[in-house]
Amino acid sequence: MVPNQQPVASSKSLPKLAVWKFTSCDGCQLSLLDCEDELLSLADQLDIAYFMEASSEIQEGPFDISLVEGSITTPADKERILEVRRQSRVLICIGACATAGGIQALRNFADVEEFTRAVYAHPEYITTLKDSTPISAHVPVDFELQGCPINKNQLLEVISAFLHRRPPQVANHSVCMECKLRGNVCIWVAHGTPCMGPVTHAGCGAICPSYNRGCYACYGPKENSNTGSLCHWWLEKLNVENTLTIENLRNFNPLADAFKVESEVRERDGRT
């Protein structure tokens, strides 16, 4: 299923954009509507052909760019993502659910039947998959924009890059770099506050340390993150309980490799 590289002609002669939702909170597609200053000019450059959150005008595919929010959690989702891929020249995943399973992927480490019984009076009415999985587990994707929620400026950059057929300029360094750029005093070094900043992907602008709290890794792992070393420091130098360390690896991006693998190591170590 290699994406078709030919541009799609639109009736309005503008590239056609589609926004798709799978299992999610809607926050990432909302980031597009939060572009109060750019929304109308964006609409001049793109034909917003399918965006259920914003428009009842629905055009047929194929689409030049598809933004996909949410993870795959139902049999119907599994079918629909194949169709979305078939209809899309470029498929971009937006947010932690689409790129790393989202908070709902905590079920992957538990018993989903027990979850269903705990929440529903009639579990037999519920159809759901055992796991919540990222989009890339099902179809090839062209770009993944991390974050829970994504940063709207990064989203605009990604859309603009694909419109102009150039690589997106999305920094893949750590939150620490953003923290330094903001001129913050390191809350870990100065106050001993546990912080996920060293292993977390940039994009939020280091807001948590700027608000006097440790980063909780909602942007997922940075490129080549050394989560093992970070967890060692948390446990040995900051006396953070093993369970809290695991919780910080398993929250909004629990299936991102660097977090998933390390959380499993920590879980195993905690038992021995």
Binding site: F51, I58, P149, Y216
Partner: protein, 440 residues
Amino acid sequence: MAGHSKTIKVDYLARVEGEGALHIDYDDSGVQKVQLKIFEPPRFFEALLRGRDYLEAPDITARICGICPVAYQMSAVHGMEDALGIKPSGALRELRRLLYCGEWIESHMLHISMLHAPDFLGYPNAVAMAKDHPEVVKNALEIKKAGNALVRLIGGREVHPINVRVGGFYKVPENRELTALAEQLETARDLAEQLVIWSSTLPFPNYEWRRDNHYEFVALKHPTEYPMNEGRITSSKGLDITARDYENYFEEEHLAHSTALHCTLKNRGAYLVGPIARFNLNRDKLSPRARQLAESLKVAAPCLNPFQSILVRSLEVLHAFEEALRIIGKYQKPEEPHLATKPKAASGCAATEAPRGLLYHRYDIDKNGKITVAKIVAPTSQNQKTIEDDLRLMLPSFMHFPEDKLRGLCERAIRNYDPCISCSTHFLQLHLNNGQGQSS
């Protein structure tokens, strides 16, 4: 209270966005059955919260809804504080109200300008509407932007704020940071006033079908304030209880036709939460400018026309700006950003007013602060039965409409409620069944 939490609704209702379906059974004598089917995939928040630290509740529950994360955070921290027996007051309490004002503004404006207004003027979306009504849409985006600026300053970012903590905040703003926002808020407030006047001129459909079937309006009531974070749960038919009594008076039902639970008042049935319910029970507590405008536009309470929810939302936006400016005018930075918190085995409840209506949370935590039980009832599940009732009462007069027009009318009636399903503006698959098993 642990142990009887079987019929619990999860988050999905907070954003029933995506697909829903409406099934209508009818025969010669009229409409027999109306079922609004909602099949948002379950996300199991109430189950996955178990075992997590009590301090994580506001961060995790925020992820239930990207459109109203502050509502979830406010209910979560108040629930936890109820359990721990602490009560932030003074400037900390005011800052929470200020943050909630920001969310009311941006969330209401999203619904008003992008989802609801195009309905009245016959456009598929706000972008198309902007071509003919550029000033209305640009001003609406400007108002929304001011709400987002408020949430960003107090909460750190617009979607899923990071600064909300059990006991208060991680960091509180400097006086100058708030006063620097005042000018933008004043400008946006004046635009909001124009918006109220504009929305009062929209062509509202009549509501004859509701004249003899009044809603039971349910909203918080506070002695001196238009309700946001606190108050007793009251109704237009005499209910007057605390949040701790919620589960004694309200119950949830899991029906086969919808993954969304239906919440009803025990022995009484459907009720209505949201802006119209708040307005009808608290009109006298609106800010002076919003109250005067409501009077001059003859928006009386009770407002019984659900299509006027856009007008009431606009009034609440104006109110939220005035409230925000009042809080900023009096603000003195508190000495500590939060009260000290120490976990103990306890149970706590809270109800707050999300933009879409009453939101109820209950938590049990153990001595180490780990959550053992979580229960969350979102506004949409509380309104779902009322939405079905609205359709059931409304449809007999319109069954002669062609299918497209009928579907459009049903969508509009549902969108009045701003259930999260309204996010998808064209969500309805309409199935008509004439009693002989034939779909038309």
